[in-house]
Symmetry: C2
Subunit: 667 residues, 2 copies
Amino acid sequence: MVETEPKPPVSPDAGSTGPDKSAEADKPPERGRLGALRTFFLGPPLATSVHLAHRLPILLALPVLASDALSSNAYATEEIMHVLASAHRYMGGPPTLHLVLPITLAIAVLMFIIMASYRRAVLMYPESGGSYTVARKNLGATAGLVAGSALVIDYILTVAVSVSAGIAALCSYAPVLLDYKVLLALLLIVVISWVNLRGTKESGWTFAFPAYGFVGMMLILIGVFLWRYFTGGVHPLPVPDHAVQATTAFSTFLLLKAFSNGCAALTGVEAISNGVQIFRPPEAQNASKTLLLLILTSVTVFAGLGFAAYSFHILPNERETLVSQIARATFLGGGYLPDALGQLLFALAIGSVLAVLIVASNTAFADFPRLLAFIARDGYAPRVLLSQGDRLVYNRGILALMVISAGLVLFFQASVNLLIPLYAVGVFLCFTLSQAGMFYRIISDRQKGWLAAAAVNAIGTIATGSVMCVIAITKFSQGAWLVVVLIPLLVLAGRAIKRHYQWFERRLAVYDNDENPLRRESSQPCVICLISSDINRGTLEGLEVARALTGTAQGSEIRALHVELNPARTALLVSRFEQLVTPNYPGITLEIVPSPYRWLVQPVLQYIEQLQSESGRRRRIIVLLPEFETGNLFEQLLHNNSAANLRRALMKQPEVTIITNRFFLRK
Amino acid sequence: MVETEPKPPVSPDAGSTGPDKSAEADKPPERGRLGALRTFFLGPPLATSVHLAHRLPILLALPVLASDALSSNAYATEEIMHVLASAHRYMGGPPTLHLVLPITLAIAVLMFIIMASYRRAVLMYPESGGSYTVARKNLGATAGLVAGSALVIDYILTVAVSVSAGIAALCSYAPVLLDYKVLLALLLIVVISWVNLRGTKESGWTFAFPAYGFVGMMLILIGVFLWRYFTGGVHPLPVPDHAVQATTAFSTFLLLKAFSNGCAALTGVEAISNGVQIFRPPEAQNASKTLLLLILTSVTVFAGLGFAAYSFHILPNERETLVSQIARATFLGGGYLPDALGQLLFALAIGSVLAVLIVASNTAFADFPRLLAFIARDGYAPRVLLSQGDRLVYNRGILALMVISAGLVLFFQASVNLLIPLYAVGVFLCFTLSQAGMFYRIISDRQKGWLAAAAVNAIGTIATGSVMCVIAITKFSQGAWLVVVLIPLLVLAGRAIKRHYQWFERRLAVYDNDENPLRRESSQPCVICLISSDINRGTLEGLEVARALTGTAQGSEIRALHVELNPARTALLVSRFEQLVTPNYPGITLEIVPSPYRWLVQPVLQYIEQLQSESGRRRRIIVLLPEFETGNLFEQLLHNNSAANLRRALMKQPEVTIITNRFFLRK
């Protein structure tokens, strides 16, 4: 069976644990023009034995795993202000903007609740504590699939949102690029995909620089802001006219909506629990510490930006991101800083935002194909997602992510504000399932201190579950409905795939108690060699192959079959056959079947059917299709593809085996 | 050899000469869902023995063959006026409009010259006197190909121009349709194609009604006009303001350009010489008479319309055709006719124009695929164009014509004026080649009266050749360049195709003096059965097929080959093989080839190469690919197509024969 779905390896993430043999020195063999092209773009193929073996200390693991979570702060506050600003204008004054503060606080509390739960998950599932695993192991396959589907959607959105936000940051600094933002975003996605297809294993430092750069610049920004704030140098900015876009009166619904938007800040927290294996031992403890560090940093940055946005009365606008506006007001306004230093800090702040967002979407490119491989290993996704390309990466997953996220960016014109409603539902669904799974595990195990632990997870489940409902309801009409519809569909698809694979395995399996696993053919097979209206070299080679294959002593039967498309030529064919074939192969008979409607396939099928009914249904028919080599497209167009049509039709017939013999015109 | 390019029948146009057996009563067999769909749209398949045997008298053959030529009059005058009108406005008065009269006269003379030549061609080549045949037989294959290419282009343009002109006529009557004219034109092309794909053989009356209707209505129109003219009832119309579109001063170049445009009236004359076989005997004489009749009718209508257009000072405009304007002025203006009668005649005139143009493009749909079949029979076009579909029509030619002409209509927005420059070059190229061919034949044969005949054809050659040059030069920049470029390309393509077929035949032919046409295989073939990392039922069936096919007594070799994509599973495979295969097939060995880069195809090719070099280069390798049935697209996506990839790669290897055995999971 040439199926070659690579059977699941022990762990699809073996990349980070294997030995560090440098097999790259062995030059791989040549593979023709296409192979050379591939090598040019992606680098030479890597042997299976090449693996990255580095384990990272906490301070390097944090940026590798947490850039996604950190980068969320680059747009979360802006999304809160989007909602508050629309109400603000309607009321004719600034009374609602201050709500950014309690919302930010609520989200910070939520961050701590989620962290508490994930720290425990990491300790309990050091191999991989992601919500797919936790939900599947504790709540069953369907819950796991729900979490998996939600994660799949979220990784796609991570790329779309991060890239769009990154380009928005770039355009804030260089507004001349605004007209090209969709194109730039698509280009960025392609470049990130290409880097990932090359599969270069980045060192931790590649991530450390953008991540710590971002955190550092945000802390400087908040620091300068606080200095100005406490020295009385912060004054609300005048509200620009083009922000006048009143939509509705302020209400609890709007408050919840603003909160929902802000929950985007929580995306990406999942990553650490999936990457426990890259930490230095003790892995789980280090991962747990890193999680704490991440949340503390994240809360600081998020709260600081929220407070600054409120103090400056900054409203989101289409042309400049909120962070850019804050940085501009802080570094450049009021003459607090020397102009050159202010300009430098502003540029660095924007650059660090762009860099961290690129790294964040890069993280999704690393995690998404790995998650798909996990799901495929369990049989819920096509097994082809398990096979690694030349560069030892799951290239099909990477390409899928590229195409889908690029499609989203194109459809939503690289607008973060339009993409956000699709985003957080899935994230909170994962949180909820993960918390519920942990709760279930804790009350099942009842180990020391289980009551307190269960309480933490119960609170977490309720909190994240409620938030998920709030998000789904408040953003339903803007796009969340799509996710609400898509997740069940993905779950159904996953289950159908699993069912098919199970059925397939059952049908193919050979059991030890099978009495006769080798079903002996009941009679000699009959070889039918199809011939056209002329006996040519190809025909003769086909007949010779049939003879050589079956041997003459066996009494096996070879028939030459001609479908009579043009009766006028039959007599000539018969005489040519008698002259060229019969003397050499006395056993081979020429059968002629009429085809009144000039069909080729149907008479052959009819002939086979009749042959089988004559000689007992189980006789194996072997059809030999003598073709000839067609070199290029030009030649393929000149010779019609009847043989290919015939092969396709015959492949659908049980008890029919097909022999393809190509006559090589150029040999 | 399952090439099944149907070898050329005696004549691809056998449809009109064969016996009239009504084999349609035999119900053809079922062919699945796709076949049922086809039957629904196209009607049940027709057996090869069904043929139309009607021969037509002159009065019915005329409309069948000449509707294209007649219908040209519906737009030729308008195209002359297009050029004259642009100069007319520039000069500030009407001094150039009268030039329509000498131009019309010149074209009428040209008509007679061409007729004289074609009447002789018809008598000499009663099978088919078209320019493709005449040029090929007298001037060589290349000249024939040039004529053939020109004809191919002209048939396409006949459809595009006729349909566009027909829709323009319709829109003249119902201007509300003007916005949809492109859509309507495309729809009309699809409908005509569909009718032709159904292959219903129309009776002569289907053509007689529109053709004679058109001639009749035009004669009535001209009659009424003349009556008004001689009773002083014709006054030049006021020139509408929107016609003010001065382009250039009047010059000889413009005169020639107007003349070139008018030559569109001559398109379609070719048809009669191609359809000699549908006349009642004596075919050639009747065809010759019909040609005379056609030219007389055509000249009358053309001259009448030209004179009327001049007398009324009618200028072409975007919204109403010239014929419609003449009919409106003649039937509705000045109170000559009762209003109801005038309205009726006007509507009938427009309707007859539309009808004759539809019939004209229908003629192209009948002739174009037949011409392609002629060319394919001679080996200059893909042989697939020779095979007739279920309904005994050359369906591929019809579809090609539909797609290309629809593309032209779309590109030129159904504008006759934009399409015309592409049109007449090819037509006159054919005329010239046909005349030159006739001239060559006459001076070669030197039969009685050859001198006079040669003189006629010499004049014809010079006249049509000069006109061709005039057309090519005056309309070069407006589109004629495309045809000038395209014809040589088509000729080159045709020659390349012919060369390939000849080479192909030579390589495949079995000659009588071949010492050993059956190249005996030098040694027993080696059967390689590919197996995946597991022994399953499919594997076992594959091995059993190999055993049954080769027999055990022959000493033929069967090897099981495994490409080691995942070394971790090899030990298990070996033990499974020893347990399940070895006891039953002691002769079959398991070979394992490593694949450090996780490639499947390359190691197999390498293994085969090594095997061949070990056992003498000429040993035939038979690779057995055990696949499994994949029912639908869903299943195909779940099982990767390694077997298909492998088959594709192996097909490129000489000395390799492929056995495909599908395991049927559902049987």
